[in-house]
């Protein structure tokens, strides 16, 4: 708020620094796409690298046929469900484990050991257990999100300012009140860091499971295009995925700045 007021006070005539950065970003994007378009053909074989025009054409075709929306929706649903499940479990467990030093020290090595396993390596197991429907993708997305949110929130819970806890206790706060009024809000910035880190990993989990065994979703679309040697299709699917993660990250960022308006 104050920095905004400051830059307004300085009164830059045409562009403030934020819209200038946006301009630079647009220039960067256009330059990249132009370089790609120019190089595709004379320098590089379009069969391998495709071209922005071809990718755009594929995107338009897919959008028109409803194919893109359908597959995006599937992946989005899987990721979203996995994200909500994994994040909820991560937060609740972190609050529980963080409340007791003994419990924390007991489970820490086990959680860390499981965290070390590449989550994608669990996909075959989940496909075996849950079939090729939405379930294995949701579970894999949830597990990927869970650990990041769990560790991040736990860190926040452990770093809570003991003076605030003591203050609340002398004012008459019980264990539950301390959790609700002090520990949870003070761990919230850490929780958000976990959510923001976890979101792309949720997508990775869902898409990876789709690539292994599925007949729908962006992962399937990528795999299927590659199987038909359709490079433009692969890029188009990746582009769609990028767009969705960017939008979701932006939404999380907005939510974050609204929640932390006290800072």
């Amino acid at each position: 708020m104050s920095t905004q007021a400051l830059s307004e006070a300085q009164g830059e005539p045409a562009l403030n620094s934020s819209s200038r950065v946006w301009l630079y970003r647009a220039i960067f994007l256009v330059a990249m796409l132009a370089a790609w378009q120019v190089a595709s053909g004379p320098l590089l074989d379009p069969f391998w690298v495709s071209s922005p025009a071809a990718v755009f054409k594929t995107l338009v075709t897919w959008t028109a046929s409803g194919q893109l929306g359908y597959h995006l929706m599937i992946t989005f649903k899987e990721t979203f469900a996995g994200f909500v499940l994994g994040a909820t479990a991560g937060v609740l467990l972190a609050l529980l484990v963080g409340a007791s030093d003994t419990l924390h020290r007991t489970v820490d090595p086990f959680v860390t050991a499981v965290y070390g396993v590449p989550k994608v390596a669990l996909a075959p197991l989940f496909i075996m257990w849950f079939g090729i429907g939405l379930a294995p993708k949701i579970v894999l997305a949830a597990i990927s999100v869970f650990f990041l949110v769990f560790f991040s929130t736990l860190r926040g819970v452990r770093e809570v300012d003991q003076k605030m806890v003591d203050a609340l206790r002398t004012m008459g706060g019980g264990k539950f009140a301390v959790q609700r009024m002090v520990i949870f809000p003070s761990a919230l910035p850490w929780l958000f860091t976990g959510l923001k880190l976890g979101l792309p990993y949720g997508f990775v989990g869902a898409v990876a499971a789709e690539m292994m065994a599925s007949n729908a979703g962006i992962g399937y679309l990528t795999q299927n295009s590659a199987g038909q040697l359709d490079t433009a299709g692969v890029f188009a699917a990746l582009f769609a995925l990028m767009l969705v993660t960017t939008l979701l990250n932006e939404a999380l960022g907005r939510l974050e700045s609204w929640i932390f308006r006290w800072r």
Partner: protein, 257 residues
């Protein structure tokens, strides 16, 4: 019945570097409505005494009594104004002041009324919707004081509450504290390292020795109330009090030979 009583209290902290006796065989008591100041060198166990009274720490020896009952768990019958800022940064001033009442499940309309009343008493009108990060140090102290007074604890513990503030603001807040105190007559234990502040505010001043802490001097302040904070130092009794307290603070440390 004394409001606060310490009987043969000892406190030992053990750390990797060995054991430190902070308090040993400490005795004192104060009556209801008495304003006690404790002065002493840093690390002499002044804050430890307050933590014991608040029940945030247990004595290693002896007994700590508050209103006649031993302090066995966190003592919710006291208000503790710490040196450190313990306002919740994600709550506005009025939400922070409301915390003790929310913890006591007081009705919303009553909370609103009492919060408004107390915010006015500590002079924070107009800042109800501000977050602590938007307040100055003095205003944060006022908010903390309001939060402590709102649940009307009979005993107030204050740990160098005005320590980091500038001299002028300190006088203003001391004056307001005296005004609030004379209206409510709470029992106060006020830790400070400022002798002038101790004489200005207190009925009685204890001087602690370096640890293990002993009471070097128990001085009753003979300056009549109501007091004007900026006039107290010109009272005829002030000089003598100051001299005696300073001498007690400065007394050479007796080391066992």
């Amino acid at each position: 019945m004394p409001a606060v009583e310490l009987r043969g209290v000892g406190k030992t902290f053990s750390s990797r570097n060995g054991r430190v006796d902070v308090l040993s065989g400490l005795n004192f008591s104060l009556n209801n409505g008495e304003f006690l100041a404790i002065v002493g060198p840093s690390g002499s166990g002044k804050s430890t005494v307050l933590n014991l009274l608040a029940g945030l720490d247990r004595p290693s020896a002896g007994a700590v009594l508050c209103q006649g009952a031993p302090v066995a768990a966190v003592n919710t019958g006291i208000g503790y104004l710490t040196q450190h800022d313990s306002l919740l940064p994600w709550r506005t001033v009025e939400q922070n002041v409301a915390v003790p009442l929310e913890l006591r499940n007081v009705d919303r309309p009553e909370i609103a009324a009492r919060v408004r009343d107390l915010i006015a008493q500590v002079g924070l009108e107009g800042f109800e919707r501000h977050y602590p990060s938007q307040l100055s140090g003095g205003m944060r102290k006022r908010a903390m004081l309001a939060r402590t007074l709102i649940y009307d604890p009979p005993v107030l513990l204050m740990d160098e509450p005005f320590g980091p503030l500038d001299a002028q603001l300190k006088l203003v807040l001391q004056a307001e504290l005296l005004k609030l105190w004379s209206a409510r007559r709470k029992t106060v234990v006020f830790v400070t390292h400022d002798i002038v502040e101790a004489i200005t505010l207190a009925d009685r001043v204890l001087v602690f020795s370096p640890r293990p802490c002993q009471i070097r001097l128990d001085e009753s302040i003979a300056i009549p109330r109501p007091r004007e904070v900026h006039e107290v130092r010109f009272h005829p009794a002030f000089e003598e009090h100051y001299r005696r307290l300073w001498a007690a603070l400065e007394a050479p440390v007796r080391r066992p030979s």
